[in-house]
């Protein structure tokens, strides 16, 4: 008896909701103020034959915001990857920096970034934008914003791009880990994400000079940002690491490398798999609609390139280093992903495998090379994002029919700008307040010296 009583409310509630909805639906169509009025009005004004187009637009917009959420998840991937490949005494600091970056990345993108990134008509080089207004105004909340090519609303466009923006600064975070002064990094990453990334991005995605190369006929091509996102972050990281110097104890007096072990391979692996997962949004969302053909291709090339990068890095690291190094295999997956990002929509399946594999091989040598020349990058960010970003961008000319000269000009333009911008900003911060913690603080760990707390409290 009691069982029946407990079961009753469920179906009852359902029936109630169903009744309410049945009553509401026609009401919405007739009354002025309903949540889908503008949509219905548009269908009516355009004519019934446009209904499939509206459906396509709606599905596309839904995909865009899902993709934005996937890109958001990449920040958790970055956080755990960086934490895993560094020492446990700096874990709080790493996580803290990642909290800061996603927060300031989103806020700064609203305040200045979006309109700097996409200035509309401008001189092609630089136009600092103002804060975003109501992006739903003037048809921005419908397909009036970008038609069926850019099949999203103004807010959809904003939030997807905003998630991208913070990525550039996150790349630097890993490279400077374990010795950068927190306050200096917070200021640096803010300027980098608000102005550096967005100015460089405007050259290509914002309709600036890179997209106008060859009179617009032979424009620079970078589908989802091998150069304008990953390359930018990698080049900025290189400049920052040069100013910062290697971690204490990484190099012995006679110049040999003394590795500083990451404290958690499980965390690093979780991070890479999250990044791989999020990359489906990063590349897939860059289709800018749910256009089935390109979307399926992009998902496939993205996954295959990552897989090929993983395998190539395993083969190369095993044969060169004599041991199958997990951290190299993880970097190899990411290398494959960065390598396909510029051309994910414009290369064949076989090409994507080659592009990913070459990236996975390059990254092993790049990591060893940077270690040798005393560019101390605890997580391999410069190699993964910077070096493979170059390869991925140039590879679109080899496999995807982009103009080789334009690709090279684009790489040089963005990389040089990112490097110099980072060098100047980080250099000025160094002169004013210093960018590095003291030797004592470094050996004690940034968790205690900067935050006064531990990631792994042994007493609880």
């Amino acid at each position: 008896m009691t069982k029946i009583l407990i079961k009753l409310p469920g179906p009852l509630l359902f029936a109630l909701i169903a009744a309410m909805m049945a009553g509401l639906t026609p009401a919405l169509a007739q009354e002025e103020a309903g949540p889908v009025d503008d949509y219905l009005e548009l269908v009516e004004s355009a004519g019934a034959e446009y209904a499939p187009a509206f459906d396509f637009f709606t599905v596309s917009m839904l995909w865009t915001v899902i993709a934005a959420a996937l890109v958001f998840l990449m920040h958790l991937g970055f956080a755990t990857l960086e934490a895993g490949l560094t020492q446990s005494k700096n874990t709080v600091n790493i996580l803290f920096k990642n909290v800061w970056i996603i927060s300031i990345g989103l806020i700064s993108y609203a305040v200045v970034g979006f309109n700097t990134h996409y200035p509309g008509d401008f001189n092609g080089w630089i136009s600092i934008g103002s804060m975003i207004g109501d992006l739903n105004a003037d048809g921005g909340g419908t397909w009036g914003y970008g038609g069926l090519g850019l099949a999203m609303t103004g807010y959809g466009d904003f939030i997807f791009q905003a998630m991208f923006a913070a990525t550039a600064a996150t790349i630097v975070s890993g490279a400077v880990a374990e010795r950068v002064k927190l306050s200096a990094f917070m200021i640096y990453s803010t300027i980098l994400v608000a102005f550096g990334y967005t100015i460089a991005g405007s050259w290509h995605w914002g309709g600036g000079w890179l997209s106008q190369l060859g009179g617009g006929e032979a424009g620079f091509y970078d589908f989802a940002g091998s150069t304008v996102v990953h390359g930018f972050g990698g080049a900025a990281a290189l400049a920052a690491v040069i100013i910062l110097g290697p971690r204490k104890g990484k190099y012995t007096d006679d110049g040999t490398v003394k590795p500083i072990l990451g404290h958690s391979m499980p965390l690093a692996a979780v991070g890479v798999f999250l990044l791989f997962f999020g990359w489906f949004g990063f590349n897939g969302g860059s289709v800018l609609s749910a256009n089935p053909g390109p979307l399926g291709l992009v998902f496939t090339t993205t996954a295959l390139a990552a897989a090929a990068g993983g395998i190539a890095s395993i083969i190369v690291s095993w044969s060169v280093l004599k041991k199958p190094d997990l951290s190299m295999a993880l970097n190899g997956l990411l290398a494959g992903l960065v390598s396909i990002t510029a051309g994910a929509d414009s290369v064949s399946v076989l090409s994507s495998i080659i592009m990913g594999a070459v990236g996975g091989a390059i990254v092993v040598f790049a990591i060893i090379f940077f270690d040798k020349i005393k560019i101390d990058d605890p997580v391999g960010a410069i190699s993964v994002h910077g070096v493979c970003g170059i390869w991925g961008t140039v590879a679109v000319a080899i496999f995807g029919g982009a103009n080789l000269m334009s690709q090279i000009i684009g790489v040089i333009g963005v990389y040089v700008f990112a490097f110099v911008f980072s060098l100047i900003v980080f250099g000025i911060i160094k002169a004013i307040m210093g960018v590095r913690v003291s030797e004592e603080e470094e050996s004690e760990g940034l968790d205690i010296s900067e935050h006064g707390q531990e990631a792994y409290n042994t007493n609880s």
Binding site: P259, V320, K323, S327, I367
Partner: protein, 112 residues
Amino acid sequence: MKLVVAIIKPFKLEEVKEALSEVGIEGMTVTEVKGFGRQKGHTEIYRGSEYTVDFLPKVKVEIAVQDEAVSQAAEAIAKSAKTGKIGDGKVFVLPLEEAIRIRTDERGDTAL
């Protein structure tokens, strides 16, 4: 009374524990420790760079025993912890002046 301190290979702990209880040892304290002897360390590789691990993980077993049980206990450890390869560890026997069972305030042999 004597304190028997043994440094053994970690994976041998279970066998040592069983061997000790077979000869009537009722309690022991175990600590995870690191160290090296003649075995020295070994090299590992991380992201393309080799490094030496000097201190290898070992387990330290401490037991307090009555004088007449010392040789039996030390023997049991030495036998059960042996693999015949370098790095098997050592057994030390130290004099023990006093023992107190905290709960009952018993002292000396009866406290063990």
